[in-house]
C-alpha cells in the first residue's frame, strides 16, 4: 500500500479511531458502559455517519471494488434519511408498486429534500428500466 492509500487507515475502528465519530459527535472511546449507564448514549449514536461511510467507500474503491464503493456512497447518502422513508422508498422500488410519476417524485425528493443525488439517479435508472419492462403499478388502481 502506498502513502495516501485509504486502505492504510483500515480498520478505522482500531487503526484510526480518531477519524470516527457518532452522528452526535461522540468518539468511539466515549461509547462505554459508564456512558450507557448515565443515559448519555442513544440508539441514534450507534450508527455510522455519512462521513464514515464515505471513508469506507474510498477504502473499497482503493481495493478495486468499484460497485461496493458506489453502494457505500449511496449508503452514506441514506445515513441521514429516516427509517420510515427508507422503507417507503424500498417498497416503491418493488415491482408493480409505483407509477413512473411516483418514482420520479421520489427521485426529486431524494435530490432536493434529502440530499441524496446518487440515490436519486439510481431511482431514475429504475424508472427507465421499469418503463421498458412493464414493471409499473397497473393503472387500474
Amino acid at each position: 500500500m502506498v502513502d495516501g492509500d485509504p486502505r492504510s487507515e483500515y480498520p478505522l475502528g482500531t487503526r484510526r479511531p480518531d477519524l470516527v465519530r457518532t452522528p452526535s459527535g461522540l468518539a468511539l472511546s466515549e461509547l462505554t458502559l459508564d456512558a450507557l449507564r448515565t443515559g448519555s448514549i442513544s440508539p441514534a449514536d450507534v450508527r455510522a455517519t455519512p462521513e464514515t461511510l464515505r471513508r469506507q467507500s474510498a477504502i473499497a474503491r482503493a481495493a478495486g471494488r468499484t460497485q461496493l464503493a458506489e453502494n457505500l456512497e449511496r449508503a452514506a447518502e441514506l445515513a441521514g434519511v429516516p427509517d420510515d422513508i427508507i422503507l417507503d422508498i424500498y417498497t416503491a422500488l418493488r415491482p408493480g408498486r409505483s407509477t413512473a410519476e411516483e418514482l420520479e417524485a421520489w427521485a426529486v425528493r431524494l435530490e432536493s429534500e434529502l440530499d441524496a443525488r446518487g440515490v436519486a439517479t439510481f431511482v431514475r435508472e429504475a424508472r427507465e428500466a421499469y418503463e421498458a419492462r412493464g414493471l409499473f403499478a397497473r393503472d387500474a388502481s
Binding site: 483500515y10 458502559l33 440508539p43 461511510l53 460497485q67 457505500l72
Partner: protein, 742 residues
C-alpha cells in the same frame, strides 16, 4: 421385486431415497452448458453496453439492464472478452497468476462468458482455483441456531456454544414471524457470551429484517435473494434496483449484507427460460456484484438437491462458488440445506468447498440437532460435529469449527441461558424458569424443554418493535443484572456499527472486535509456502478432537496385581507331552491385558487348562529376545519337550508352532486377537496338546470382524510398541510361574 438379491440390497440404500433425473433443458434441468445459454457477446458504443450475450439493448430484460449499467467494467472488457475461453480457464489454475489480476479480468466478462470459462475446469481444477480466489485469507464458518419451540434459553445456549466453537456468524430464523425480535435478542446475548465479536442475523421478511438491524439487535443480513431470470425476480417481489437499494439501506445503518442466489431456484419457480443453472447463476452473480454487495451465499442453498439430481450437479455447485469468488465476492458456500440422504454423497459434495476453504464453508452449520433446525433440516448438525472436527484433523484443513470440551460447553450454555433469563426479567418479558435454563444447558433438543406461553412471548416480541427496544437496551439489561462482560460485548457490537469496518468484503470480527476482512487480510495464495495454512497453535487446537488417545496410555506399571515369577533360565527339552506356552517380553510385566480386554493371567490359565484337558502338560516360558509372535512361538517350540508350543503376544495374538517348521510358517495362527475369548484360548491350548500328542485336531474356529483393524489399529501399534520396548536382544528365555497375589 428384483431377481437379484444384490440389486435389491442396493435399491434399499440411502442414495435411492432421492430422485435423480436426466437433463431437460426446457425446464432448466441442466447443470452446465445448456442449449439455451446464449453465445457470449459484448458490444460497447460510446461507453455504453449496447449488446450483452446476444441481446441488444432494446431486448434487455431488467437483469441485463442492471448488469449493463453497473456490472461490466468497460476498462477491462475489451481485453478480457478478447481472451480465448481456454486461456482464461488456464489462467485460473495458473499458480503464477495473482488473484488481483484474475479479478480484474472477471470484471470485464459477461455472464455467458464467465459461465463457459468456469465450465472448462474439472473438479480438482475448480478447487484449486477456489483456493486461490477466496477473498479472505482465512476460511471461517457460519452457524444456524433455531429451535421448534423458539425457546429463548435454548437459543441463547446454542448461540453461545456456536460462538465458543469458533463460528464467526450465527443466523437464526423463526417458525412464527412475530417471534423474530425475541429470537434476535436471544442469539445476540448468547453469541456474545460464547465469544465477543460474533455477528448475528435473524432471517425474516425484508422490512422486519431491516428493522431488527436498525434497532441494533442484529449485525448482518443475507436475505437478499436474487434470481437469474426476470420472471423469477419479479415473482420474488423485487427487481435488481429494489434489492440494490435495500443493500444500501442496510449499509447506511451499519449492517453487513450478503446476497443469496443459487442453482435451481429458477427451475423450481418455473421460469428458467431453457438456460443452464450455471449460466443463470452467472447472471445472478453479475447482478449481485453490480448492486455493490460485498458477498453472496450460493451453491444451491435451499435448492441444492435439485442441482444434485442432475448429471454434474455437484460440479455445477462448486462452479457457482468459484464464480462468485472470481468476481471478488465473499462466498458463504452452501452446505446448509440437506443435500442428500446418502452420507457418502453428502460428504463427497462437501469436499469441494471444505478442502479449498471458502469465506464461510457452510452458510449455516446446524449447531443443534436436526429436529430443531427450522431452516429445513441442516445438512450437518450437532450430532456430526465430531465427524467434522475429525475431517479437519484428517486433512489438516481449517473448516472453521473448533473443538470444545464438554465441561466448557456446559458452562457456556448455562451462562448464556442464565443471562437471557436475566435480560427477559429485566425487560419485563415473560419469565424464563430455572427448569428451562437447566434443560437448555443439558437437554438434547427442544422436546426436552417445557412449553412456553407463546401468546405472551409474541406480545413481548411486538413490544421490542413498538417500543424500539435496542441493542443498547439489551446491553443495559445485562449490565444491571450483573453480566457486565456480556454487556460490554453487546455494546461492542453496537460500536462496530459506528466504524462500519465490517461492511468491507468478507469481514468477520475477532474477540477483541478487530475486523478481519479481504481488505486487511486478503487471500494472497500463490502456491506452496504462501497463503493461509493450518499450522502452529491453530493446528494444535484443531487436532484435539474428543476421544483422542494419549499414546502413553498403556505405559502403566504399578507393580500390583498378578505376576509371572521367574524360575530361572529356560532349557530345551522336557517330557514328550509338554506344551510350552511362550509369552512375549511385556506379558504381565508392563502390560496386563490383551487388546480384547482379557486379563493376561486369565488367558494363561485358559491356555493351560486347554493343554491339560487334552492330555498335555503346560510349561510357561517368557521369550525376551523378540516381540514377534512367530518367533516367540518358534522359540517356544524349540524349548518344548513335544516340540510344539503356543506363542502369545501381550496384545493377545497367538500362534501354534512346531520346532521343525520355518519361523514364519505355523500350525495355526490367531491374528484376530480382539475377537478371541477365554474359550478360544482354551481351545487353542487343546489343539496344541493334540498336535503334541500326535492326535488329529480340527482348526479352532475364529470370528472375523472386518472393522477390527479400523477400530484397533492404533491400540495394536501402541501395544506392540510397548512389547517391543521390553525386548532384550541377548536375554535368554525364562521359565515362569504364575503368582496370583500382587
Amino acid at each position: 421385486m428384483s431377481d437379484s438379491q444384490r440389486a435389491e440390497a442396493r435399491a434399499a440404500r440411502d442414495v435411492h431415497k432421492e430422485t435423480l433425473v436426466s437433463p431437460a433443458a426446457p425446464l432448466g434441468l441442466v447443470a452446465l452448458a445448456g442449449p439455451g445459454d446464449p453465445e457470449p457477446t459484448l458490444v460497447v458504443e460510446d461507453g455504453r453496453v449496447v449488446e450483452l450475450d446476444g441481446r441488444t439493448a432494446a431486448e434487455f430484460d431488467v437483469i441485463d439492464r442492471f448488469i449493463a449499467a453497473h456490472g461490466v467494467d468497460l476498462e477491462a472488457a475489451a481485453e478480457a472478452m478478447a481472451l480465448p475461453e481456454l486461456e482464461l480457464a488456464r489462467r485460473l489454475v495458473d499458480v503464477d497468476q495473482p488473484r488481483s489480476e484474475l479479478v480484474r479480468l472477471s470484471r470485464g466478462l459477461t455472464p455467458a462468458r464467465l459461465a463457459r470459462v468456469i465450465a472448462l475446469l474439472d473438479p480438482v481444477e475448480m478447487m484449486f482455483a477456489l483456493k486461490k480466489l477466496r477473498a479472505r485469507r482465512r476460511p471461517a464458518n457460519q452457524a444456524h441456531v433455531t429451535n421448534r419451540k423458539e425457546n429463548p434459553a435454548l437459543l441463547a445456549a446454542d448461540a453461545a456454544e456456536a460462538a465458543a466453537r469458533g463460528f464467526a456468524e450465527v443466523e437464526t430464523t423463526v417458525g412464527v414471524a412475530r417471534y423474530a425480535p425475541l429470537n434476535a435478542v436471544a442469539i445476540l446475548v448468547g453469541s456474545q457470551i460464547g465469544r465477543p465479536g460474533v455477528i448475528t442475523q435473524c432471517s425474516v421478511e425484508e422490512r422486519r429484517n431491516l428493522q431488527l438491524g436498525i434497532q441494533g439487535l442484529t449485525t448482518y443480513s443475507e436475505t437478499l435473494s436474487v434470481y437469474g431470470t426476470e420472471r423469477c425476480f419479479v415473482d420474488g417481489d423485487d427487481t435488481p434496483w429494489s434489492k440494490a437499494f435495500l443493500a444500501s439501506a442496510y449499509a447506511s445503518r451499519g449492517i453487513k449484507v450478503r446476497f443469496t442466489s443459487g442453482a435451481g431456484a429458477e427451475a423450481l419457480m418455473g421460469h428458467a427460460e431453457g438456460c443452464s443453472m450455471l449460466y443463470l447463476e452467472a447472471r445472478c452473480l453479475c447482478a449481485i456484484r453490480a448492486a455493490g454487495s460485498q458477498g453472496v451465499q450460493n451453491g444451491g442453498i435451499s435448492t441444492v438437491a435439485l442441482a444434485m439430481a442432475l448429471p454434474a450437479g455437484t460440479r455445477e455447485i462448486l462452479a457457482e462458488n468459484l464464480l462468485a469468488a472470481w468476481l471478488d465476492l465473499e462466498v458463504a458456500s452452501g452446505n446448509d440445506a440437506i443435500s442428500s440422504h446418502s452420507q457418502i454423497r453428502k460428504t463427497a459434495k462437501l469436499m469441494g468447498q471444505f478442502l479449498p476453504g471458502t469465506d464461510f464453508v457452510t452458510s449455516g452449520y446446524s449447531v443443534m440437532p436436526r429436529y430443531d433446525n427450522v431452516f429445513g433440516g441442516g445438512n450437518y448438525d450437532a450430532d456430526d460435529v465430531d465427524d467434522w472436527l475429525t475431517l479437519q484433523r484428517d486433512w489438516q484443513v481449517d473448516g472453521g469449527i473448533e473443538p470444545l470440551a464438554e465441561a466448557d460447553a456446559t458452562r457456556i450454555r448455562e451462562q448464556a441461558a442464565r443471562a437471557i433469563q436475566a435480560v427477559f426479567a429485566e425487560l419485563g418479558f415473560p419469565g424464563i424458569t430455572d427448569e428451562e435454563v437447566e434443560l437448555a444447558t443439558t437437554g438434547y433438543d427442544s422436546r426436552d424443554l417445557p412449553d412456553r406461553d407463546r401468546a405472551a412471548d409474541v406480545l413481548a416480541g411486538d413490544r421490542v418493535l413498538n417500543e424500539g427496544i435496542s441493542g443498547l437496551d439489551v446491553a443495559l439489561a445485562l449490565d444491571r443484572t450483573g453480566y457486565s462482560e456480556a454487556a460490554e460485548a453487546v455494546l461492542g457490537m453496537q460500536r462496530l456499527r459506528v466504524g462500519a469496518d465490517y461492511l468491507q468484503t468478507s469481514a468477520i470480527v475477532g474477540p477483541s472486535f478487530e475486523v478481519d476482512s479481504a481488505v486487511n487480510n486478503p487471500n494472497e495464495y500463490e502456491g506452496p509456502g504462501t497463503g493461509y495454512r493450518l499450522e502452529g497453535e491453530r493446528w494444535k487446537l484443531l487436532q484435539r478432537v474428543p476421544g483422542e488417545l494419549d499414546p502413553a496410555v498403556f505405559a502403566v506399571e504399578d507393580g500390583r496385581g498378578p505376576r509371572l515369577v521367574s524360575l530361572g533360565e529356560a532349557a530345551a527339552g522336557g517330557p514328550e507331552d509338554e506344551v510350552v506356552i511362550a509369552v512375549g517380553p511385556a506379558f504381565l510385566d508392563g502390560m496386563r491385558e490383551t487388546i480384547g480386554g482379557l486379563p493376561h493371567e486369565a488367558v494363561i490359565a485358559a491356555l493351560a487348562d486347554g493343554v491339560r484337558a487334552a492330555g498335555g502338560r503346560p510349561r510357561i516360558v517368557r521369550i525376551r529376545r523378540t516381540s514377534d509372535v512367530a518367533f516367540i512361538g518358534h522359540d517356544g517350540a524349540r524349548l518344548s519337550g513335544s516340540r510344539v508350543a503356543v506363542g502369545l503376544q501381550s496384545k493377545g495374538t497367538a500362534v501354534i508352532h512346531r520346532a521343525d517348521l520355518e519361523p514364519l510358517d505355523n500350525l495355526e495362527l490367531f491374528g484376530m486377537a480382539p475377537l478371541l475369548t477365554l474359550e478360544s484360548y482354551k481351545a487353542i491350548g487343546g489343539n496344541a496338546a493334540a498336535y503334541a500328542l500326535g492326535r488329529p485336531a480340527s482348526p479352532v474356529p475364529t470370528e472375523i470382524d472386518n472393522y477390527a483393524r479400523a477400530k484397533l489399529i492404533v491400540r495394536t501399534v501402541l501395544m506392540h510398541a510397548s512389547e517391543t520396548e521390553a525386548v532384550e536382544r541377548d536375554a535368554p528365555p525364562l521359565d515362569l510361574a504364575l503368582e496370583l497375589q500382587g
